[in-house]
C-alpha cells in the first residue's frame, strides 16, 4: 500500500534524523575522548621515552635524527620553544641553541679566510673540533642544518646555499647569484679551487657576453673577500682562487 505523505510521516522522519544526529555526536565525542586519551598517553610515552633516552638523543646524531623525524610525524616540535616541557625534558632547545652559537662562531672564524662562504661538511668538522667531541659526542650534518635553520628564524644572515649538489653556508648578507654559483662550481673542478676568466666565460657560452659575465662574477667575489688573485700561474693572466670551492684550502686556511 502506497503511503501518502502526512504530518505524522514528516514528524517521524524529523525524529529519526535527530536521533541519528544525537547518536552521531555521542559517538563522535566518545571517539574524540578516546583520541585525546590516546594522544595524551602517546605524548606522555614520548616524553618518558625522551627522558629515558635523553643522553642518547643528545650524544648520538643518528638517534637524534630519528627522534626528530618521529616528533615531526606526530606534529610535535621539540625545538619550537626554549621554554616548556620539551626543552626542560630534553635540553634540546638548549642543545640547538648552543650549537647555533658554535656554528655562528665557526662561521665568523672562517670568514676571515673564506670571505663568509664555507662548505657545509667543512663547517661541521670545524664545529665538532670546537665542541671537543669527547664529552658531548659528534654533531651531524643534519644537526648543523637544523641549527642554521634556527639561526635563520632570528632573521640572521646565515643561509644554506646549494651549488651543484653541495651545500655551502653563507654567513655574510647577500644572495648567491646564479653566475656566482656557476663560478663556485667551475672552481671546484680545480684542486686549489682556482678559476680564470676564460674558463668561466666558457661556462657562460663564451664570446664577449660570457667574458663580461665572468668578469662581473669574479670581481664581485673579489670585492666580498671570497676570492684571492694569483698572477703567477700563467703569464699575463690572473687566476682567481675561491677557498670555499676547494676541499683542501677551505679546511687548511
Amino acid at each position: 500500500m502506497r503511503r501518502r505523505p502526512g504530518i505524522s510521516g514528516l514528524q517521524r522522519q524529523q525524529a529519526q534524523r535527530e536521533a541519528f544526529s544525537d547518536l552521531g555526536s555521542v559517538a563522535a565525542s566518545a571517539r574524540q575522548l578516546a583520541m585525546e586519551e590516546q594522544l595524551q598517553s602517546f605524548q606522555s610515552q614520548l616524553a618518558q621515552f625522551a627522558l629515558k633516552h635523553r643522553a642518547d638523543i643528545n650524544s648520538q646524531p643518528a638517534f637524534r635524527a630519528s627522534f626528530h623525524k618521529m616528533c615531526r610525524d606526530i606534529g610535535v616540535d621539540p625545538l619550537a620553544s626554549n621554554k616548556g616541557f620539551w626543552s626542560e625534558a630534553l635540553g634540546l632547545g638548549e642543545f640547538y641553541f648552543d650549537l647555533g652559537v658554535q656554528v655562528a662562531e665557526a662561521c665568523m672564524a672562517s670568514r676571515l679566510e673564506t670571505g663568509g662562504l664555507i662548505p657545509l661538511d667543512v663547517l661541521v668538522r670545524r664545529v665538532n673540533k670546537r665542541r671537543g667531541t669527547a664529552v658531548s659526542g659528534e654533531v651531524s650534518i643534519d644537526d648543523v642544518k637544523q641549527a642554521i635553520g634556527s639561526l635563520g628564524k632570528l632573521g640572521s644572515t646565515f643561509k644554506l646555499e646549494m651549488v651543484s649538489g653541495k651545500y655551502l653556508v653563507r654567513s655574510v648578507p647577500g644572495e648567491l647569484s646564479p653566475d656566482a654559483a656557476a663560478a663556485i662550481d667551475v672552481a671546484a673542478q680545480d684542486p686549489d679551487g682556482a678559476i680564470s676568466e676564460d674558463s668561466l666565460a666558457q661556462r657562460f657560452g663564451g664570446g664577449v657576453g660570457g667574458l663580461v659575465r665572468a668578469r662581473e662574477a669574479l670581481e664581485s667575489f673579489m670585492r666580498d673577500g671570497m676570492a684571492w688573485v694569483d698572477g703567477q700561474r700563467e703569464p699575463g693572466k690572473y687566476w682567481y682562487y675561491l677557498p670555499a670551492s676547494s676541499e683542501k684550502w677551505s679546511e687548511v686556511l
Binding site: 684571492w228 694569483d230 684550502w249 687548511v252 686556511l253
Partner: protein
Amino acid sequence: MAAFLYPPFYAYPPYFTLQPVEETRAKQVQAWKALIFDFCVHHNIHTVSADDHADGTVDVLPDPSSPLFVNAAIHRALKREAKVVFLDALVAEGHGEWLEADKHRCRVFFKTLAEYVSDVRRWVDENALHGSVYTLYEMAEATEIPDEWKRLDRDVLHRIFVACQSSGVSSVFGGENGEDVGVKFL
C-alpha cells in the same frame, strides 16, 4: 735546530701575489709579517732583502734550502713590491727598520727597540752596572751579558745601544769601524 714549520698559507699560490682588495690584502700582510718575523727569529736572521735577484732567487739567507720568499714546490715567489709592503708592516709594528731610504734591506728586531731599551735598563739596575763600560766586542764574550743579546748581530746590538742613548740609559762612543764601539751605562 728543529726545521722551521711554514704556515699553511705558504703553500697557497695567491699568497704570493699582492692582493688588490684592501680587506684581503690586510689578511695577507698580517700573515706574511708574522711569517717573516717567526722565520727570522727561528734562523737568527737580522737582515732581510726586499730586492729581486737576477737569477730569480729572492733573498740572501744562510741556508738556501730553506727560503722565505720563494716556494719552489708551488712555483711561486714574491715580487719586490709585495716584499716592501710586508716589510713595511713589520717596520710599522716596531720589529723592523729599513737600512736604506729606498728600502732595499730591512733590519729585523726580535723585540721592539723600546722593549730592548727597558730590558737593558732593568739589567743595568739589577746588576748595578751603572758607570761600567763595555765594547761591543767584549759584550759578545762577557759572561754577565745575557745570551739573548749575544746571539744578536753586532749591528743590531749597536742599534739597540743607540736607542738606549736617546733614552738616557747608556751613552755610545767610538765606533768608526764597528769593533771599537763602546757603551757606558748610566
